[in-house]
């Protein structure tokens, strides 16, 4: 892997990575009522990590992530499963039945929370975990 070779790429990456993350969060929260959702948001976020990997090197990308890909996968899967179980436990409905709560937050107004949102966040984490694990393993082989 060619790393640290292009000043332009590195400088651009410093600006682009936060923007991509912001875009990923936007897509994540926009899902279910409009196009978007956990999967595509996860891909965008992994894209940010991929860009960082190309511009710098594997160890600095790992530092940027802060956690292992496996941990992200596990937590995401757990969150997605838990979001499905909520309806089973609370209301005795089948697995994955969605539950909605309304929350009043001063300054923002009414905030709608739901189990599909948690499911999406779970998918988001799994996708980031899987893609970055594959990417970083390949980068390690290359080194």
């Amino acid at each position: 892997m060619i790393s640290g070779s292009s000043l332009i790429l590195q400088t651009a990456t410093r600006f682009l990575v936060p923007l991509l993350f912001l875009f990923a969060v936007f897509l994540l929260l926009r899902g279910h009522n409009e196009p978007g959702g956990g999967f595509i948001a996860g891909l965008v976020a992994s894209g940010a990590f991929a860009l960082h990997l190309f511009a710098f090197d594997a160890s600095s990308t790992r530092r940027l992530m802060g956690v292992d890909g496996q941990l992200l996968m596990g937590c995401g899967l757990l969150l997605a499963l838990a979001s499905g179980v909520v309806g089973m436990v609370l209301n005795g409905q089948p697995f994955l039945s969605s539950q909605w709560w309304s929350l009043y937050v001063p300054g923002i107004g009414e905030l709608k929370l739901s189990t599909p949102l948690f499911f999406d966040v779970g998918v988001f984490l799994v996708v980031i975990g899987v893609v970055t694990t594959i990417m970083l393993s390949l980068a390690k082989v290359e080194e």
Binding site: Q70, G74, L77, L81, M88, F95
Partner: protein, 500 residues
Amino acid sequence: MKAEVIIPILIPMLAGALCLICWRWRLVQRWISVVSGAGLLLASLVLLHRVQTEGIQVAHMGSWPAPYGITLVADLLGAIMVVVTGIIGLAVAVYSLATMSRSHEAFGYYPLLHLMLAGVAGAFLTGDIFNLYVWFEILLIASFGLMILGGERAQMEGAIKYVTLNLISSAMFLTAVGLLYGYAGTLNMADLAVKLNGAEQSGLVTVIAMLFLVAFGIKAAAFPLFFWLPASYHTPPVAISAVFAGLLTKVGVYALFRVFSLIFVQDTGFTHGTVLMAMGIFTMVTGVLGAAAQFEVRRILSFHIISQIGYMLVGLALFTPLAVAGGVFYIFHHIIVKTNLFLVSGVMYRYHGSYDLAKLGGLYRSAPWLAALFLIPAMSLAGLPPLSGFFAKFTVIKAGVLEGHWLMVAMALIVGLLTLYSMVKIWAEAFWKGLPEDAKSLRGERDPHLYVLYAPIAGLALITLTIGFGAEWFVQLAMATAEQLLSPAGYIEAVLGGSQ
């Protein structure tokens, strides 16, 4: 609430997630793995009991009613298969404690194993044909990972054949699903059964049926699509081979049983009587001939998987209540016996460091308990009374006699003899003859984990004996299952009942 239906899928999935979180603590992963195996077995027994007492259990995921949402259905066949999955899951989880190497564990053996079990359980319980595809993919991707763990050269060669053939099969499966959706406008299996059997006959339906047959035939390792199996199943560590040998091909067989009893029953003379029957007979014969030519224990056993698949297919092909019951009995008998034989071969390896019959010997004297524990599944596989395999073969062959299908009866008997021959070959070479001069013997070293190896083997042997001596109860269960399969009205009613 029908939580029983989803719990057998949730438990291994949860275990997989927890194992991923505990990636660095292998001891924790081991505990999670054994506990989840036991939990899966328990949950599946509860499910089976519920299905037996209260009839077919149905759960509509996300509260979306049947033809639109994804439905999970547990009828007798599905519930039995999940119980067997639980048994194998627990046995292999315990066996892995002593056999799995540090590097395998460090590279995610336990998460992959549990995701695979979740995929298998999901495939057995789903009532939606696209969802079946999804579960197939989950279990396949996990099994790809398991197959290449360790990364030895032989493993890679086997894995390439395994992955390629299974991807072709998946593509074919997906094509068939697409055509079916275009034709019938639904993917719910019960709804499909109604729509296809109400409509007038069409050649297209038979074409789709054949596509499914080829797709599932590849996964089930039926003739002539089986060659990926003996090329790959002996390459990974023995615990992985064992769970593959027991469960994975049977998912294909299960799918054939499901689809060809529920959906494609318009033209049984052609699909069952001609194609499946020919496939079954050829699978039996080629498998056993392949096994007779081999001298490596796990390769012999791999070829025997194929040959035994033939019996199950023949049971489905005859399509009488007795024959289907025989096929179902055969499936659960075979999963337990075959996994057990692979586990025994792993212990042989522990003693002499080889799977090659020429380098094994004298195990009868040095490990008499192992010899006894090998004889039970081996003779059961060959079909000696009063072991489980006898009743399985007997039921299938009796159904053949009643139908007057003499070619199949003759073939089944000959294949039974040849199976006995190759089991005796392993017995004579590995257990009876003296240890060859140049063979290694690792017996000098004390093996502190031996009881961990013997526990699952003895447990599975005990189940084999139970099935053999309590055959009455198991045959009744298989008959009830066959009855459910051959009269799909109950299944359709259970799935669509509330919404139509």
